[in-house]
């Protein structure tokens, strides 16, 4: 029944999934924060560019983005991102694609957090004579961060599941291994169960923990 189970290969594949998730999460948080800053800035041109990026990238399938990093950037333009061998290059390209895509969703999550702070809060702070920096760091951001946990948790879980798309360009993560196994062994149901269980182990705790955190820190209005 479970004679296909090569634990080393399985854990190795899921380790690649985790690495893809962590690197992409860090990268998209940085890039998404920059985009969010552009979208709420007082400079009209920055707002336009930020909005355009989000609207375009959000509406392109992630599969197209990731395939483009391989066929377009690497094969056509020779962008290798400093990867030494095929495996490293594809991994880096996949992370790049995931960052470019996920950052749009991170940006929207952060912006929704800033928008939940009532304008009256900032007006009251300015009426007290606080400077722009003080309004931002003492009044607006603390409230925005607390309401942003839940949407960001959703983005993180979606990202974890989206790392499977990296198998499209041959990154040896969980979905790639599963595809190989179900073509090799005649044990579809047990194989699928193992991989389903693996992803549930990754996504469910994340959702439960961050859901609890978001309820804990939410601003009661």
């Amino acid at each position: 029944m479970f004679d296909f189970l090569d634990m080393d290969a399985l854990l190795g594949a899921f380790w690649v999934t985790v690495k893809l998730t962590v690197y992409s999460a860090i990268g998209s948080l940085i890039w998404g924060t920059l985009l969010a800053g552009m979208r709420v800035s007082p400079v009209p041109l920055m707002r336009v560019v930020g909005t355009a990026y989000v609207n375009v990238v959000r509406n392109i399938p992630l599969t197209v983005v990731i395939l483009f990093t391989s066929l377009g950037l690497y094969s056509t333009l020779g962008v290798a991102l400093g990867g030494a061998d095929f495996e490293a290059i594809n991994f880096r390209l996949a992370v790049l694609g995931l960052i470019a895509y996920t950052a749009a969703f991170v940006c929207e999550a952060l912006r929704s957090g800033i928008n939940t702070v009532p304008v009256g809060q900032a007006e009251a702070a300015r009426a007290l004579g606080l400077s722009f920096g003080q309004v931002l760091t003492l009044i607006v951001l603390p409230q925005a961060f607390r309401s942003v946990v839940n949407p960001l948790a959703n983005v993180l879980i979606a990202l974890t599941k989206n790392t499977t798309v990296a198998s499209v360009i041959g990154v040896a993560e969980a979905a790639y291994l599963m595809k190989g196994w179900i073509e090799t062994y005649a044990a579809l149901i047990p194989i699928a169960a193992v991989f389903a269980f693996g992803f549930i182990c990754l996504t469910l705790p994340t959702g439960l923990v961050l859901g609890w955190v978001s309820r804990k820190v939410a601003v009661k209005r």
Partner: protein
Amino acid sequence: MTSVLYDAPGARAKVRNVGYTVLFVAVLALVAWWVYDGLNSKGQLDWAKWEPFFTSSQPYTAYLWPGLQNTLIAATLSLVIALPLGAVFGIARLSDHRWVRAVAGTVVEFFRAIPVLILMLFANQAYSDFTDISSDVRPLYAVVTGLVLYNASVLAEIVRAGIQSLPRGQTDAAKAIGMRKGQTMRYVLLPQSVTAMLPAIVSQMVVIVKDTALGGAMLSFSELLSSVRPMSANYGANTIASFTVVAVIFVALNFALTSAAGWLERKLRRGKKSTGAVVHAGPGGGLEAVKAPGGGVSTRGDFTSGAGGG
């Protein structure tokens, strides 16, 4: 404009903003030049590579339109099949019987925690192992099955949030005139909550359309994305041009859907016939029932997974 972050700009702020704009334009110009140089040095901007898309209809009739048709067929089928399934599970999660709630909840959370690609791969292999569906339509079946399993569970949450967005008095009034539970759901709750769900359902269509591309890349389903390879082979290695055209089509299609969802939402908020509450798919796919203006606080559901798939 005044926002929570800054007041309407005064004289000094206006000067400062002009400075920022100049800096930003410089950065943009650098990026644009870098992209242009990269493309140009590899000859990807040659007119010969872009010409077919502007001078003949062949790429559209031979590659793009058949691909787009398959994308739309798969997406529409998935939505049409997933919607009733989702409604059943969404209503089951609101049942008075604990075991019905538990079973429906487990099924929904299970399929939302698993990547849609895993579901597609499983469906593809299952059809080839246990059925005799011919291999040329199997990719379509696999893509639709994977999308239905995942999206039915997302739609179940949308249905649940939509029903919960209605005022309690609706249920109380239905009980008061002696309706049974089934009648309350059929004649009172569902008809009213459909309007609240519509925008979120249209938004979900965007997710479905985007996920069909997975089938093109992994299961050799001949949809829009899979037209890139034959096109770039046929028109002299114009990979960048082919990708650009395919991406533009996807963006146009999904932008139209997103705009329709936004328009529906605004229309329903103003509407006289509904409670004014709207189920709103937040960023990352969390849902929230947004109450009518002045109708108290918006309730945020805590959901354990987001949409926004591949």
